[in-house]
């Protein structure tokens, strides 16, 4: 064997090794990627497919590209759709106002109890979701202390109630998804170096100005992430509306659940479900574009 032959053999080996190395990440991605392709992406395509079909459960469904299904769905549940985003929006805003000072307090005043306080904030969410929601039924009950206090203060009328109203649903949603708001805000506040705020104070900024010009802008990524993480599950939720709300004023999730599982009107349910996905996509696409793909799963 000449040295030339030897080097070329080594090169072939090296190239094969390099090719194998190049394949490694794809092999690692393959099983999980396939799972998501089959059980996340393919279902989404089937959902669109069913939303354009015509027929009944008894006679079977056939694909007729019936776009009118979307018009029918909104004639049926347009008000529920709007209500979902109204409730979800109100709950998200409330959650922001509750969570921000809480996260701020832990990040800047927590001291050595920072971790303990963070654990305390997350702890309530270890009770089952449905039991937490049912507990609100007790708290907001007609003769409970919350309603009685509000009556004494003349905030609600003597015959007024909270349970079975939109307020109860918003209260339930606000509480149930509060951890999704608190955590991202805390993470972004934690990253702010205290010297930045001290610098603002040294330059004679009032505490309010320092907060507005330094702390708030730097915590914006947390606010945006928390808002999305709260708004998305809130808009699709139907548990709070079902357990705490008025059966005449349900959310779009209730209608999707009901049409799919009880009335067995698949096309309408699918049209509503995919419309909800489109609205959520419209909300998150600007976010994805601004943050870049690398930080999405960080």
């Amino acid at each position: 064997m000449t040295t030339d032959e030897a080097t070329s053999l080594v090169n072939v080996g090296a190239r094969q090794a390099a090719r194998r190395r190049k394949a490694v990440p794809y092999l690692l991605l393959l099983p999980g990627g396939l799972w998501l392709a089959i059980f996340y992406i393919a279902p989404m395509i089937q959902l669109v497919g069913i939303s354009l079909q015509e027929g009944t459960y008894q006679t079977g469904y056939s694909m007729t590209w019936r776009w009118e299904n979307y018009a029918d769905a909104f004639a049926l549940a347009g008000s529920h759709f709007l209500r979902s985003f109204l409730y979800a929006g109100a709950a998200t805003l409330l959650a922001l106002f509750i969570a921000y000072p809480l996260a701020y307090g832990i990040a800047f005043r927590g001291g050595k109890y920072k971790n303990l306080l963070l654990v305390l904030v997350l702890m309530p969410f270890l009770t089952p979701f449905l039991l937490r929601t049912l507990a609100w039924k007790v708290i907001l009950a007609d003769s409970g202390f919350v309603v009685e206090t509000l009556k004494t203060l003349h905030i609600i009328s003597p015959s007024g109630r909270i349970l079975a109203t939109g307020w109860a649903v918003v209260a339930g949603i606000t509480y149930n998804f509060l951890a999704f708001m608190t955590l991202p805000i805390y993470v972004s506040l934690e990253k702010i170096h205290p010297s930045l705020i001290e610098a603002a104070n040294d330059l004679y900024a009032k505490p309010v100005t320092a907060f507005r010009k330094v702390t708030l802008p730097l915590s914006m990524p947390g606010i945006v992430a928390g808002t999305l993480l709260t708004l998305i599950p809130a808009a699709g939720d139907f548990v709070n509306a079902s357990l705490l709300g008025n059966p005449q004023r349900l959310m779009v999730g209730n209608i999707i659940d009901n049409r799919f599982l009880r009335i067995v009107d698949y096309p309408t349910a699918a049209a509503l479900s995919f419309s909800l996905m489109l609205v959520i996509l419209a909300i998150i696409i600007p976010y994805v574009r601004a943050s870049g793909t690398e930080d999405l799963v960080a």
């Binding site: 998501l36 005043r109 039991l131 509480y175």
Partner: protein, 272 residues
């Protein structure tokens, strides 16, 4: 300067109040957060008459002593534990492989992968649950235990990737290279160097996946057929009266997960 002067002229009472607003607020907020938990625990001791357990009627230990007295409730708990264990274990395996690919390799299709992992986390559960049901209907797959496991693996993968990735971020590639320099092959390097380092992250991911699966209601509701998980049992019982034993298990789950959480924190602190 003028501002500093006015600040010092403020009455001390106002300064005293201002210093305490935030701590007082935090106590109020924590009380708010724990109020429903307290009610779940309290009502596991409620000596309620009739079907509904919504008003306090007196203290009893009956429900705790008779915790396993509702057979369908116990079955639903066992089902939930089985589903959570199987789905979280498989999702942890699949997700860890993806996290390894993302952290250790540069490759084409990286942003598509990140996007594909982000989307399931940004999709409302009702959409994921109903679309998966649409697939099963079209394929004629009967809904039950297996379809719930499939669904839970699907929504858990992304959370596993995020958790394991967080742990891998501070990971020193040189340690692996050192092992390779000492003639360890790729498999030995993985087993002796990589795995021990990522193991805490993998364990955390498994626990998170387990918790998410155990507590999932909406996606499960669409794909369960006749299988009844713990949340599905509560949902069904909510209309006709939830037995107080549900609160017993809810309280027990709370205490058990809090212990695991505290233990995990201690272990991580010792390691760090």
């Amino acid at each position: 300067m003028a501002q500093a002067a006015t600040a010092s002229r403020k009455p001390p009472l106002w300064a005293w109040i201002k210093r305490r607003i935030l701590p007082v607020y935090m106590v109020v907020a924590l009380t708010y957060l724990f109020m429903p938990v307290a009610i779940v625990i309290l009502f596991s001791f409620n000596d309620h008459q009739g079907r509904y357990n919504f008003t306090w009627q007196g203290f009893t230990l009956d429900h705790w002593q008779n915790a396993f007295g509702v057979p369908r409730l116990f079955d639903s708990l066992v089902t939930s534990l089985q589903i959570a264990f199987i789905s979280s274990a498989i999702a942890t395996l699949l997700g860890t492989l993806i996290a390894l690919a993302l952290v250790r390799y540069r490759f084409r299709g990286r942003s598509a992968t990140n996007l594909g992992l982000f989307l399931p986390m940004a999709t409302p559960e009702v959409v994921m649950g109903s679309s998966l049901l649409a697939l099963f209907i079209v394929l004629g797959v009967a809904r039950g235990f297996a379809t719930v496991v499939i669904a839970h693996i699907m929504f858990n993968i992304s959370y596993v990737v995020v958790t394991v990735k967080a742990r891998l971020a501070g990971f020193d590639r040189h340690l692996e290279e050192a092992a390779m320099d000492l003639y360890a092959n790729e498999w030995t390097t993985f087993r002796k160097v990589t795995l021990p380092m990522i193991l805490p992250g993998v364990m955390a991911a498994f626990l998170l996946g387990f918790a998410l699966s155990f507590d999932d209601f909406i996606i499960t509701n669409f794909n369960s057929g006749n299988t009844i998980t713990f949340p599905l049992f509560i949902w069904g019982a909510a209309r006709v009266g939830v037995p107080a034993q549900v609160n017993v298990f809810g309280a027990a789950i709370f205490f058990i997960t809090v212990s695991i959480m505290l233990l995990n924190i201690r272990l991580q602190r010792r390691r760090a």
